[in-house]
């Protein structure tokens, strides 16, 4: 009892210290919280409200709030094809970007470790495309892949493409554009994990009877999971909602329309705000669920 009596004030001093620390933390968080409230939560609430509106009976182009849940059913019915296509394209682009970026990041982060200068030069080359607007770069690809461009004429000369075939306006061009545009987002997180990869662990694997392929599968790949997870998220999430690559002004066509193009057209062309809002909310919800399942399953908490 005497002991608890003595420890009493000490504990309360600790608690008040913690409370003071909590207050400072709260103060530091305030700008962030305010930012989120103003620029994320408020538009989100407004979007949810818009998604439940119905067209006004009297004034064209005006909408009234009526708790119209059917908006969601309608957009799913009308645009299910585009929704599925978006996620398929995003998935393909993510896989291709990963397949392309992993060897590249490994080369820069591991093989080139002994030459830091070359390493930074290569990293600059990966980031260099950011110096030009991605709209311009995508337009440039449209030129390169156009029917009169070098790629199509070469493929036609080799009889790999028929005389009536195109590349622009096809799903191939859209997935290509998405892959191309998101490679730096995949490459940089992969590089940061691979750059920290402890080569002594690779040596330990080789010492313990694991050949190069087995060492990669059992040691290198699991250790680079944090980079793979953040890279794929940084690619998949924006790619699923992308509306530039699939737009018919860029690399897409009518057969390759993605959800982003549908939302854009509903908001800006058809002025059907409730449908556009409902699609946006839907897109966000699906991505949240997919990402949640993905992060849980990849189990990277231990590594972070």
């Amino acid at each position: 009892m005497a002991l608890t009596a003595f420890t009493g004030p000490v504990v309360s001093a600790d608690a008040s210290g913690a409370r003071r620390g909590g207050r400072i933390a709260l103060l530091l968080l305030l700008p962030g919280i305010a930012y989120l409230l103003l620029f994320f939560l408020a538009p989100l609430v407004s979007l949810v409200i818009t998604s439940l509106q119905t067209p006004s009976e009297t004034v064209f182009g005006q909408y009234d709030f009526t708790f119209n849940w059917q908006n969601y059913g309608e957009v799913i019915g009308t645009y299910s094809e585009q929704i599925l296509r978006s996620f398929l394209y995003a998935l393909l682009a993510t896989v291709f970007a990963l397949l392309f970026s992993y060897p590249l990041a490994y080369f820069i982060g591991v093989v080139m470790r002994r030459w830091p200068l070359v390493q930074s030069l290569l990293l600059i080359l990966v980031v260099a495309p950011f110096f030009i607007s991605f709209l311009l770069r995508t337009l440039a690809w449209k030129q390169i892949l156009s029917d009169e461009g070098p790629v199509v004429s070469t493929l036609k000369a080799l009889a790999l493409l028929g005389p009536q075939d195109h590349i622009t306006g096809t799903p191939i061009a859209v997935v290509f554009g998405l892959t191309y545009n998101f490679i730096p987002f995949m490459c940089l997180p992969l590089y940061t994990t691979l750059e920290r990869l402890d080569m002594r662990l690779i040596e330990a694997g080789r010492d313990l009877y694991a050949g190069p392929a087995t060492t990669f599968r059992t040691v290198t790949l699991p250790l680079s999971m944090p980079g793979i997870v953040s890279g794929t998220l940084l690619t998949f999430i924006p790619a699923a909602g992308d509306y530039v690559n699939a737009s018919s002004q860029f690399l897409g066509g009518t057969s390759s329309t993605m959800i982003g193009n549908v939302i854009q057209s509903n908001f800006l062309v058809q002025l059907n705000y409730p449908a556009a809002a409902a699609l946006s909310i839907l897109l966000m919800a699906i991505i949240l669920v997919l990402v949640g399942v993905y992060v849980r399953r990849s189990g990277t908490e231990d590594l972070l």
Binding site: R200, L201, A204, G205, R206, D207, L208, A210, L223, D302
Partner: protein
């Protein structure tokens, strides 16, 4: 290496003319070495002497610039590390952070398709007294525990050749002694060949059957621990393995039984068969515990070397023995270890003393003489830092 099977016994290791150059320096100059199967071999040397590189060459993690490496008679110079019947306990432990302790230990067994990998991993963990932590991740263990896991992960594979790169460095003294015994037990029980790299001369001497002292990429001397200690051949060995009193001088008489060396006006006799050089300028020496301190000049006796008179400049008590530093004019400082047969030191600082030792305890070194003990110490320290 055959899948699903353990090595039946240790294998002998042979290095023939092995040399390893890195850009800018040579880590291993020229190494010819044969380690018999089933022995506990220690490579002893200061840091940077090339002992870890030697180990990595045997493991296959480095390729030799020249020379061949043979394990059990088979040339493995061009064999990939994962095909060599060798396991390493790394100095950095190199435990896989994404696997549990148990999976770390079972890793090698799984790769070789050995039956019941988890059961065998548990047994290996029991050996290092860590079975209760089998489900933890390596990051949740202390340094000493991680080191023991690294040991279990290598030993569980029963390799023909086990390489240990300073494996006991992070353990406290009690655990270190325990692990030394454990390692020795494993080695004799299974008959594996152990190659142990260390800079701890006491560890090397207590554990190993054969010790090789390495310096600047070369092996200075190989032999049983007693042999290396009692009859060092170079001043590096004489000073790295314990301490020595060294005297430089000219050989003035050369007989069948002894040679006489004139050092600082005094004659020191050394047995002929214990002297590497028998003419010209030589360095001879004697271990500090072989010396006797005398407070009055002894009568000249056959078979006894005497130096003195000198002054005691320092007395330090270390429990079992007392170390005296004796300044003898013209010779330099002589270290004397005297067992504490009585309470307290026998002589005080400033006392006038003579030192004597039996002729058969002296040894003659093979390397070029150094003019004083101070220089010998400098050479040693320089060698250790290089």
């Amino acid at each position: 290496m055959a899948r699903g099977l353990f090595a039946e016994s240790g294998a002998d290791l042979e290095l023939v003319g092995v040399r390893k150059e890195f850009p800018g320096f040579t880590a291993v100059e020229q190494l010819d070495l044969t380690i018999a199967a089933g022995t506990f071999f220690a490579l002893l040397g200061p840091s940077g002497c090339g002992k870890t590189t030697t180990l990595r060459l045997v493991a296959g993690l480095e390729e030799p610039t020249a020379g061949r490496i043979l394990i059990g008679g088979a040339d493995v110079t061009d064999t990939k590390p994962f095909r060599r019947p060798v396991n390493t306990v790394f100095q950095s432990y190199a435990l896989f952070p994404h696997m549990s302790v148990l999976e770390n230990v079972a890793f090698g067994l799984r790769r070789r398709g050995i039956g019941d990998p988890l059961g065998k991993a548990h047994t290996a963990l029991q050996l290092v007294e860590l079975d209760h932590l089998a489900e933890r991740k390596p990051a949740q263990l202390s340094g000493g525990q991680q080191q023991r896991v690294a040991l279990a992960r290598a030993v569980v594979n029963r390799p023909a050749l086990l390489l240990l790169d300073e494996p006991l460095g992070a353990l406290d003294l009690k655990l270190r002694r325990q692990m030394q015994l454990e390692l020795k037990n494993i080695q004799t029980e299974v008959g594996l060949t152990f190659v142990h790299v260390t800079h701890d001369q006491e560890e090397a001497m207590t554990m190993a059957d054969t010790v090789a002292v390495m310096n600047k990429g070369r092996i200075e001397q190989i032999g049983a621990p007693e042999e290396l200690y009692e009859l060092p051949r170079t001043s590096f060995v004489a000073n790295f393995l314990g301490q020595s009193n060294l005297f430089a001088g000219e050989v003035v008489e050369s007989g069948d039984a002894t040679i006489g060396v004139q050092a600082a006006g005094r004659r020191i006799l050394v047995p002929t068969e214990r002297a590497q050089r028998r003419s010209g300028s030589v360095t001879v020496g004697v271990r500090p515990e072989k010396l006797l301190l005398l407070t009055e000049e002894p009568a000249a006796t056959a078979g006894i070397n005497v130096l003195g008179p000198g002054r005691v400049t320092d007395v330090s008590f270390s429990g079992v023995s007392t170390q005296y530093l004796v300044e003898v004019p013209g010779v330099g400082t002589i270290i004397v270890f005297a067992q504490n047969l009585v309470f307290g030191p026998v002589v005080e600082r400033g006392a006038e003393v003579w030192v004597s030792w039996r002729v058969e305890h002296g040894f003659g070194l093979s390397d070029a003489p150094v003019s004083s003990i101070a220089q010998a110490h400098e050479a040693l320290v320089g060698g250790a830092e290089a």
